[in-house]
Symmetry: C2
Subunit: 144 residues, 2 copies
Amino acid sequence: MDRFMEEALSEAATGLAEGGIPIGAVLVRGGRVIGRGHNRRVQQDDPVLHAEIDCLRNAGRVGRYADTVLYSTLMPCYLCAGAVVQFGIPRVVAGESRNFAGARAFLLDHGVEVIDLDLPECYEMMAAFIAGHGDLWNEDIGDL
Amino acid sequence: MDRFMEEALSEAATGLAEGGIPIGAVLVRGGRVIGRGHNRRVQQDDPVLHAEIDCLRNAGRVGRYADTVLYSTLMPCYLCAGAVVQFGIPRVVAGESRNFAGARAFLLDHGVEVIDLDLPECYEMMAAFIAGHGDLWNEDIGDL
């Protein structure tokens, strides 16, 4: 597997072990991870701590994002895609989009390159979580 | 002035007094403020803590947003508008959009009602800040 997606998946697994929603993300610049995070809605009781938001927050004030790539185990939602577009992150790599189509069209419309790896490891972890915790998942994407 | 926008403006003033970017927001449900916040990029060294994000975070896990209104002293950017669209907040009231046009079209395209109060109090506080701290402002909206 892509080594950065492996790191994002490891973040997702950490989130699952903590009792959270298993989505992970890393921000990469020049072949190096400069930020990592995972969804912590449950752990922190924080509705905006999606994996990508947690990752961008942990990366800190990195200046321009023009040479960064955001990896996420799941196709970003509008909140996270909004961050990508506003901050000018030019490329998003998603682990899968079968469990959630996300805001792919919005990203493409704003000139962001989107790569969907469609990885079974990402799909299966998320599918199992949604099957067991549909309530939490629906809350996370505002589908209530 | 609208009493909720007054509270958002008071949040912005708090941010300014802290040395931060003067943008404030409140989330309202049933005529009551259920969350408030202000931009804390500088104070927390956190690039995603825009006023609206801080406000949604402070509101906590409020469940459905269908009966909420988000007030912000400035028209929301894509990050914050993305949160509005993803969580299904049906109405946004902005203090002004002259300093920053924001993601109004995106909100409208997704069925969000957008009201722009175009208030001198909001405009002037932000204009003065941008004039004195263009670097911070550009960093905040990813215009680097």
